[in-house]
């Protein structure tokens, strides 16, 4: 069988590390659409993604992952829809040092609701070392309220192994959903 290609989306608020995460694992020089950030009240960083980031990873069997990073700000939400089309899964990155990280997560889960409800989402919480609140329990309670089950992990996306951890867990979750859904019966976890 010829190698297949899978599309993955990195979503999350401005400054959560989407561009960094893709750069950490892409085997090609990532395509970037950085422009000057004029909204320093929202985030201090100098540049921000205006359209998308793009990177590639080849898996052991030759299959290829196409990694798309979305712009964080909600004024670019049309790009979320465009990029999310046909995606296998979404990695949502949350910056715990922002004013309301729980509201951030809620917004991106809402935007990628279909993937999340289909167990095709994984959530990475960053800057938890310096900003421990809200704690992981609060994020778990939030996604339970929304009616989604997703792994939530403390990560530092500057570390390649942390980004690979997110991908690994996303894939295992998709694989498990195929295994369990194909099984004739079983006591499902609500």
């Amino acid at each position: 069988m010829s190698p297949r290609e899978y599309k993955l989306i990195f979503a999350g608020s401005m400054g959560a590390g989407k561009t960094t995460a893709i750069a950490a694992i892409s085997e090609i020089a990532p395509v970037r659409t950085d422009v000057e950030n004029t909204d320093r009240a929202a985030h201090q960083k100098a540049m921000t993604t205006a359209a998308m980031d793009y990177g590639e990873v080849t898996l052991a069997g030759g299959d290829k992952l196409r990694l798309y990073g979305t712009p964080g700000q909600s004024r670019f939400d049309f790009m979320w829809k465009i990029l999310g089309n046909g995606a296998l899964g979404v990695i949502i990155l949350v910056d715990n040092s922002r004013p309301d990280p729980l509201a951030d997560l809620r917004e991106y889960l809402q935007a990628f609701r279909e993937l999340a409800q289909d167990s095709r989402a994984v959530i990475g919480i960053g800057r938890g070392e310096s900003h421990p609140n809200p704690q992981l329990d609060a994020f778990h309670a939030l996604i339970r309220d929304i009616g989604v089950s997703a792994p939530i992990l403390s990560v530092d996306v500057r570390r390649r192994e942390d980004v690979l951890l997110l991908l690994d867990i996303l894939f295992n979750q998709i694989e498990a959903s195929e295994l369990v859904d194909l099984a004739p019966s079983g006591s499902r976890v609500q």
């Binding site: 990873v57 069997g61 299959d63 778990h140 690994d168 498990a176 195929e178 099984a183 079983g186």
Partner: protein, 330 residues
């Protein structure tokens, strides 16, 4: 999100931040007051838990420079746009915003709880705590079970745990381990080993104070509970877990902070989706039964496991065909 309980209010005041910021703080307290972990009340004196101060103010500068950001009251620097926060203390940016104020107050609540635990309000004396099974010469999971029980009691006092030659300090209510340096492999092997004696003692106030003065820092204890389950005997489940029961995960373990093997990811994914028996979990994840035992034990010690009545037929790899498109990326 917190249940309304009868709580004594904590005090907050300002030093030298200006009338406008003081008024803003008072009105914000009314807005965020119902959402914070503790109740907060503005006071005009210094009999408070928190004082917001400008680092430039001479009087507050002297206080801040003394280095005791952690004292009582706790001094929180108020920063203007161009100022950087000092290390080792929470800070608040002016003009105050409701969300940031709430976050800061909750952060301070956590720190205060830590302090209260260590410098407990009620004077107490050291007391030994019985550890089940200490009389037996060989008791698997002894440390993990003892630690799990201790955490369950949710005491706010500092407890000293001696395992052979290794000493650990724990605040159960905060699920926190107080340590000044990471545990080395040798100490960890002693702690997790089946043969060491485990002694738990509630510390008295003076001991707890000495511990803080010595620079012990709190860190989450879950990694140690996890290791205690994972590194325990893998030929059976923890006492109390039915060998033929079905298990489900309440939520995903934080693999970002817990030692893991790649096979744990599929096990976690399976158990969050459907309850599995140990054998079914091993079969579905193509792992030895011993690994399924170890994984469930680790999850159970971290309070992530739910036991379900035995029921329907669990998933098996054979039924899934070759749809496992997703090979590992490493």
């Amino acid at each position: 999100m917190n249940a309304p309980a009868i709580r004594p209010a904590l005090g907050i005041t300002t030093i030298g931040v200006g009338l406008r910021d003081e008024l803003l703080l008072k009105s914000l307290l009314r807005i965020v007051g119902t959402d914070t972990r503790d109740l907060w009340q503005y006071r005009d004196d210094l009999q408070v838990d928190v004082a917001l101060c400008t680092p430039q103010t001479v009087s507050s500068l002297a206080v801040c420079k003394s280095g005791d950001y952690g004292g009582t009251p706790r001094f929180i620097p108020v920063l203007r746009a161009d100022e950087n926060p000092p290390a080792g203390t929470p800070a608040l940016r002016a003009p105050f915003r409701a969300m940031e104020l709430r976050k800061l107050l909750d952060e301070v609540s956590n720190l205060l709880m830590m302090r209260r635990s260590m410098a407990a309000a009620t004077p107490h004396v050291a007391a030994d705590i019985a550890v089940p099974g200490t009389s037996a010469p060989f008791k698997p999971f002894r440390f993990g079970l003892a630690l799990g029980k201790l955490i369950e009691r949710a005491s706010r006092e500092v407890h000293r745990i001696e395992v052979g030659s290794v000493v650990l300090h724990v605040i159960p209510a905060a699920r926190a381990l107080l340590i000044d340096a990471p545990l080395d492999d040798e100490s960890l092997a002693i702690v997790l080993g089946p043969r060491a004696d485990v002694r738990i003692r509630q510390m008295d106030e003076a001991e707890a104070q000495r511990l803080i003065a010595g620079g012990a820092k709190p860190q989450t204890i879950d990694w140690l509970l996890w290791r205690a389950g994972l590194d325990g005997p893998a030929d059976h489940l923890l006492p109390g877990l039915p060998e033929h029961g079905e298990f489900a995960l309440r939520r995903w373990p934080d693999f970002g902070r817990l030692k893991h093997k790649p096979s744990h990811f599929l096990m976690a994914a399976l158990l969050t989706r459907a309850a599995h028996s140990v054998d079914a979990l091993a079969l579905a994840s193509s792992q030895p039964v011993a690994d399924a035992h170890a994984f469930i034990n680790a999850c159970a010690l971290c309070d992530l496991i739910e036991v379900r009545p035995a029921g329907g037929k669990p998933a098996s790899r054979d039924t899934a065909g070759d749809e496992g498109a997703l090979r590992k990326t490493r």
